[in-house]
Structure formats: C-alpha cells, structure tokens
C-alpha cells in the first residue's frame, strides 16, 4: 500500500488560525546523526539506507527508550536535489547480502522508503503509523508534530537520509544530460542558469533596494563555518576542517553573480533521525523534552518563472506572522534562529520575516545585523547550527540544532539561555518552519 502524505488541512498555511491546537502537546527528545561522506562509494554499508538505519538506532538510544516503543515513522523519501539513478536501476553487487529489498529497487540507495526501513530493522516491530513528508524534512517534522498531537502515533521517528552519487552534481547527469528540458525547468534551465541564479537575482534586487552589497555577507558566512566546525557530526568537521576567512569568501568564483561558489552548499551523504513523543511519555526518556509550540507553511504564489524580491519578502513576512500567532509569542521571545541557508543569500529573507534581532526595522536590516556580534556568544545568535554552509547540504542541521540548543547540549551552544528557537526550510516562499521551546508555556 502506498505510504500517504499529510492531508492538506494539517498544514498551517494561513493567518487567523489562532493558537495551534497541538501547542505544547508534542516534544522532541532523541537525536541520531549518521557519519557524513562527500559521495557514495557504492558499498552497501555506506549507502544512504545504511546511514538512515544508523541514525535511527542512534536516535532511539539517545532518547533512552526501546525500539519497540516506536509506533510511528514519518520520512522524507526524496534523498537528493541533484542526481538519482534510474528508478529501476538494480542495486549494486553485494547489496542483497546486506539488505532485504522491497519492490522499489532503489529503496535505500537513492530513495528513502519506510517499508525498506522496517524490513531491515526488525526491532521496529510496533510501527503502525507511517507517513511521508515529501520534498523536505521540514515537512516530515510538521507532519509528525501533527500526527503526535492528533494521537495517531505516540512515539514517532522523523527521518531523512541524503545520498550523493559519484560524479558532478547537476553537471552532465540527470536532467542536465538530456537533449531537451521539460516542465518548469524549460523556462530557466534551458539557458544554463545554475541553481543559485534565481536567488542571486533576488539578492541583487535586495541590495539595490536597501543599499547593501555582497561583501556584507562575509561575517555571516564565516560565523556559520565557525559554528559548523564545532559540530563533530558535520561534514566539514569530519572531512575539511579548515576555517574559512573573509578573504577566502570574497575570493570565491562567481557562479551567478552576485552568488559565488561559497554561497552554494556542498552536497553530501548523511542521515538524521529524531524522536517525537508526547510530554507524558517523554517523562521516562533520558533527555530534556523540547516542546513544539507551532508550525507553519508557505508555498509559492509566483507571477513569473522566477521569484521577485516582493514575493519573497511577502512570503517570509507571512511566515513570521503565522508562526508567532500560532505559538502565542513575538519576535522578542526568540532566543536564536536557525532558518535555512542553502543558498546563503536568502537567509536574510527568512531572518527578516521573523524580525529576528530587529531594533524596530522591518526590512533591509539583516546585512547590517551581520556586521554586529551574531556569534553564539552574542545577543543575537544567527544560525548557530552553522546550517548547510557550515556542515554540508542536508536541510536539517538547523532543525537538529534547535533541539540540541534547547536541551543545552549543542556543540555550538549559545551563551544566552536557549528558551525558544525557530527553524525552517527551504526557500523563502516554499518553507515549513517550527517553533521549538524549553517549556510548553
């Protein structure tokens, strides 16, 4: 039977809904992170599926519970934004000696699959609730939050793995290897526009409107790398521990000016699993529960093939208002923000939508904020996780760090009390975000 996705009504995607009905009734406890790799070496035990299983076992152990307490899984099946194998491509040699296979031959290789996980993790013998959170792990988190708050699952895993095959991401592979372009890609990709180009255009519009420059991004980029290098689970810590300097960043090759190569995140292999449960059941988990106060969603309302500054500002403003309304809090209550950063040039749209670190400004202030102390020691910790830029592309370092910050065990723990944090991904007008808190009140 096909795995369902959340009904549309579960997503809080408009204003005026009031306080979220599930506010304070869902918590995160255990977190499990796999090792990282730049690319898959085609061995079964380093596959995306193997990393996913490893992350799940670590999350369960981290929570201090038994595997048979897990009664639900919400998973993001897509495991790349780049190149995948043909869906019918057979598994590599030796695969069957390590894993049991389901009907979908690429399960565990280039696609996450709940049935495949359950088949290969017999210890998860009580899973009744299964749901996919498509496209982004943010959707899996919001879906799982709703599922727990609605009583459909009591102790639920939220899971996403990422694969990265050999070869060059986007270059001469997948859609880029075809002679024709179809779908929305025919309006942009046909002219060779790289993935970051639309972000670069909106960023340029932002700079022109507010009198800012690409150079002003440097402190943010460097701070993110510094935060990421504190994380023992991050790709850069594990494989490229060199610290980036402002001069390094400014020397970067333009990919789509004003986006340079270091504004683009590095594709990697990795997996994350998180345990969601109720506050009552969390009482016997070994970790401090992190409450979810609200979640919200935006989706594109484009008038053209590429977004505009106005559209991104409108979408992120709305996200901020929805999150605060449903959580019953305001910008002044937020201890830190971990909004998405892949590409780095759109992080400020998310940040300004939340009015994070604002001194009354509404728009056009984030790059000025970047010139102040945005470190984990300062009053306005910006992206303390380090995000994709500091850890490699996953779209989940930010969510993970919100949980760890509030539990007081982040490797880049902020100095001020971590009471409330916000994370969301991915692009400014296609975003699912959550408000995490130390208490339900």
């Amino acid at each position: 039977m096909a795995i369902p996705i959340a009904p549309h009504a579960w997503h809080r995607n408009r204003e005026g809904l009031g306080i979220w009905e599930g506010r304070g009734r869902v918590v995160a406890t255990g977190v499990g992170t796999s090792p990282t790799a730049r690319r898959w070496d085609e061995k079964p035990d380093t596959s995306m599926g193997a990393l996913t299983i490893m992350a799940i076992r670590r999350a369960i152990e981290d929570a201090g519970i038994m595997p048979d307490e897990i009664d639900g899984i919400v998973l993001t099946p897509e495991s790349t934004t780049g190149v995948s194998n043909d869906p019918n491509a057979p598994a590599p040699a030796g695969w069957d000696s390590v894993f049991k296979s389901v009907d979908y031959p690429q399960a565990g290789i280039t696609r996450g699959d709940i049935d495949w996980i359950l088949l290969n993790m017999p210890e998860l013998k009580n899973v009744e609730f299964r749901m996919n959170g498509p496209v982004c792990m943010s959707v899996a988190f919001t879906t799982a939050a709703e599922a727990v708050s609605r009583g459909l699952t009591k102790t639920c895993l939220v899971v996403r793995g990422w694969h990265n095959l050999g070869g060059r991401y986007y270059v001469g592979q997948g859609a880029a290897a075809l002679d024709t372009a179809s779908g929305p890609a025919k309006y942009g990709s046909i002219w060779g526009m790289p993935a970051c180009a639309s972000t670069a255009m909106v960023f340029e519009e932002y700079c022109n409107k507010y009198g800012k420059s690409h150079d002003m991004m440097a402190p943010f980029i460097v701070e993110e790398r510094r935060n990421g290098l504190m994380n023992p689970d991050g790709y850069y810590t594990q494989h490229r521990p060199e610290m980036m300097t402002v001069d390094d960043y400014l020397s970067g090759r333009w990919i789509a000016k004003p986006a340079n190569i270091y504004d683009n995140d590095l594709p990697i292999q990795a997996a994350l699993a998180v345990v969601f449960t109720t506050p009552e059941l969390a009482a016997h988990h070994k970790l401090k529960p992190v409450y979810i106060l609200n979640h919200a969603q935006t989706r594109p309302e484009l008038q053209g093939a590429v977004p505009t500054l106005n559209e991104w500002e409108r979408a992120t403003d709305r996200m901020g208002r929805m999150l605060y309304e449903g959580a019953g809090i305001g910008p002044e209550d937020v201890s830190f923000e971990n909004m998405y950063d892949g590409f780095t040039l759109f992080h400020q749209f998310h940040l300004e939508g939340l009015r994070f670190g604002s001194r009354g400004e509404k728009r056009g202030y984030a790059l000025d904020l970047y010139q102040t102390d945005i470190s984990i020691d300062g009053p306005n910790p910006v992206s303390p996780s380090g995000g994709n830029n500091g850890n490699g592309r996953t779209r989940w370092w930010n969510h993970r760090d919100c949980i760890l910050q509030i539990q007081g065990r982040s490797p880049s723990q902020i100095k001020r009390p971590a009471e409330i944090g916000i994370s969301g991904a991915h692009v400014p007008n296609f975003c699912d975000a959550l408000v995490w808190a130390a208490s339900a009140d």
Partner: protein
C-alpha cells in the same frame, strides 16, 4: 638529468627557463575529493626539478595552503581557480600549465593563456619532457 637540473635551477632568477604548473585539487590530485591520479610524489618531483608549483582550485585559498602544508610541500602560490590570470601576471615563466579534471579548468586555463592537461594526462608527468626539450 644534469642539464635538467641546471635549467631548473635558474627558474626563479629570470636568467633561465621557468616552468609553472598549477594543479587543480579535487579530481586531480591524490588528496582531492574525489581523489585524482596525480600523486604528491609527482608534485614533489616537479618542485625538486625547479618547476614553480601551486594550486588553483575551488577550495578556498587558506584551505589549499593547509592541504599543502599537511604534506610538507611549500608551494609557490595558491589561488582560487578563476585567478589563473593573476598567477600568470605574478610569475614570469616560459611555460604556464594548468592541470584539471573539468571543462571549466580547460576553459579558465585557455582564457588565462595556460597550456592545459587533463588529470589523466598529467599522470604521465608530461612536463618532464619539457626539460628534455629545452635542455642544451
């Protein structure tokens, strides 16, 4: 190899021949990601023979420097890949060569007036033949 050493020894002095080799890192050098076929030993041999050597890569410059230092090689330059023209302007050489694994390497090398070898061609150390060609 006596002639070779003499030629190479003059490389920095502006009196003799100077050959400059720029290595891409990822996909080209053995410590790249992915690893390439050109070994540290090949680089070290080129340097010992007097070639000006360094890297022009998409790894940021301070990271390139750290990678070389970790292998105890004191390179003459590191730069972002698109800065090949700057390297050419900084060093007065008879030949300029960039070795890489992507069409972008080839494109940037040609634009900067560098000769270009693919990574798999570089494995044969074709630059060594230059020394013989220019020897007395």
């Amino acid at each position: 190899m006596g002639c070779v050493c003499r030629l190479a020894g003059d490389a920095y002095k502006g009196e003799g021949l100077a050959f400059l080799i720029s290595f891409d890192i990822d996909g080209t050098l053995e410590f790249g990601d992915p690893p390439g076929g050109i070994t540290v030993e090949m680089v070290r041999r080129a340097q010992q023979l007097g070639f000006l050597i360094g890297s022009c890569s998409d790894r940021f410059p301070s990271a390139q420097r750290a990678l070389w230092e970790a292998r105890e090689i004191k390179v003459d330059f590191v730069a972002a890949k698109h800065m090949l023209p700057d390297i050419r302007s900084r060093f007065d050489a008879t030949k300029y060569l960039h070795i890489g694994d992507r069409e972008l390497d080839q494109q940037l090398a040609q634009q900067a007036g560098f000769e270009f070898f693919w990574d798999h061609e570089g494995v044969a150390e074709p630059w060594l033949a230059w020394l013989e060609t220019h020897a007395d």
